[in-house]
Point group: C2
Chain length 329, copies 2
């Protein structure tokens, strides 16, 4: 029942040439003068047999593939990660590289490499510098974004800077008591740490108390309880740095339920600048991370390593983040 695989040998037989000739024709191997007539016969035979070369055999023989593996950290894969991956893919594709993605799913880099033979790895926050070094030793170049801002990757998304930016903005708006609304998704934990650190640092710099941290589920009633806790205190919170735009919207929904309005009672600032941020009312002030740029820069880092002859200049090593001020602050 299972038809045996069509191999280049079958194509050769059908075209009446040798296997090498098939390979030369199909790969346009330079320096091989193949007669137009032979070439046509080979191409026809391949088409008739619907020949697809074995990726495994090519990889084994060549010692490498054209596949760049993107490993995504076990974080909530949102617009940011998708934008990074998309831009990376678009950057390297014109140079003949194929992008495949995987979530880390708790595995170490070694395990991941048991099922794929990539020519390079783009690590989106998944691995530690140690693991990366181990892969590099195996001759697989690794480029990566450090999502938590830790070094050892070629690029960093400065999470502390994001938090700092949120806090500084609220402080500039006259808010003296800040809170941090964290996500209740455990996968978000690593991202959160750096951001809170940035908020804390900004508060400290201005002589303000450290932010009150409160976990905020994405439901209005639960968020309302969280908001209650922020307000029912000797020094009620007047400014909230939210983990992302979704959490920010949850805070706003919770506030609404409690009869509070933004920015009059509490100012709220998110992170991500999802399309919806500008569509809701009041429109959300948020920190925009240029994820496309991160992906493109990562792609250029890959190309630099894989094709030094392209002479690609050293790309940025830090993502650009900026504040988009709208109506909630």
């Amino acid at each position: 029942m299972s038809t045996p695989r069509v191999t280049s040998r079958d194509v050769a037989r059908r075209a009446g040439v040798s296997q090498s000739t098939v390979s030369y024709v199909l790969n346009d191997t330079p320096g091989q003068a193949i007669s137009a007539e032979t070439r046509a016969r080979v191409l026809d035979a391949a088409a008739e047999l619907a020949y697809t070369p074995s990726a495994a055999a090519r990889a084994l023989r060549a010692g490498r593939t054209d596949t760049v593996l993107v490993v995504l950290a076990d974080i909530p894969v949102g617009d940011t990660a998708l934008a990074i991956v998309g831009a990376l893919s678009r950057t390297i594709r014109p140079h003949g590289y194929t992008t495949v993605y995987q979530r880390r799913d708790g595995r170490d880099l070694r395990t991941v490499l048991r099922s794929v033979t990539p020519v390079a790895i783009a690590d989106v926050g998944a691995f530690s510098p140690d693991e990366i070094a181990a892969a590099v030793e195996r001759n697989v170049p690794v480029v990566g974004v450090s999502l938590d801002g830790v070094d050892g990757h070629v690029m960093r998304i400065p999470q502390d800077e994001i938090g700092r930016m949120q806090a500084e903005h609220l402080i500039a708006r006259g808010r003296r008591r800040l809170a941090y609304a964290a996500s209740d998704d455990p996968d978000a934990h690593d991202l959160t740490a750096g951001r809170i650190e940035g908020v804390r640092a900004a508060c400290a710099r201005h002589g303000l108390p450290a932010p009150v941290v409160v976990e905020t589920p994405l439901y209005a009633d639960a968020a309302a309880r969280a908001v209650d806790r922020l307000r029912n205190r000797a020094d009620p919170v007047t400014g909230v740095c939210a983990f992302d735009d979704e959490v920010a919207l949850a805070v706003l929904a919770g506030m609404r339920l409690g009869g509070l309005s933004a920015p009059a009672d509490v100012a709220v600032v998110g992170v991500d600048d999802v399309p919806l941020a500008r569509l809701v009312s009041p429109a959300l002030t948020t920190v925009h991370v240029r994820s496309d740029d991160v992906g493109a820069a990562l792609g250029r880092h890959v190309l630099r390593r894989l094709k030094p002859e392209l002479g690609i200049a050293e790309p940025d090593d830090q993502a650009t983040v900026h504040l988009v001020v709208r109506e909630t602050t």
Copy 2:
């Protein structure tokens, strides 16, 4: 500079055994009685050399891999696609299969197979029944969701049903003049067609005029112009079926700019039920697609083909969709 690859031969040499023994130990090959002492020596040697078997060689030799390739259609990859893929991955992982993703990026299935040797393909709306048949002929089982509702895949997300549900709900709410707010993302086109068809069918059934279709960018001002067009007519639109929740929010933002409110002036219903839908005000009525179920069912379809001995029952072949009524209708 580039260290040569550590092979099983190196491990064998170091452990003082043959290559076969290394393979037996590392793969726990059943029916091979290996002395505990030998086993330990091999394991140690492998660890010391940081041996990682060649994925390519294993694939070539075995004729297959443990990799299930998910190919995503060139549609806007949003929460729905991610949920499908996540659930699929979680379903097959316990059975030893690794999931890798790729976007179709306009390639045909043959081209995709040039760089990967998957044991099965999960097609998320990317390929036509013809292409799928060709892959199956190459002994690669393909399971797939048809995003546009067209047959030939093992599962369908009934886009027409989604549109029908939106329209029926608005009609039940007494709206007699409906519009369809389409996305301006060209990648959304295939999804849109089926949904509009469903809206159209519902209108026809109730003797109502066909929906006015208007493209709605994700910006309040542009959306306001779109809304203007829907209202400034002999028979002003009173109900809008939006392509997804984002477009629905854009419509609502446009309405707000024009002094219109929902549902008083115009009722709006989205699709996706993103977390934000329940957090915004007014909370969004929307059609919820059980994407997790789709992914899990897809995973079970994969397992059925790959491991018939598991005796997995034939999963559903159609995604469950249901209406979540909130405040905008």
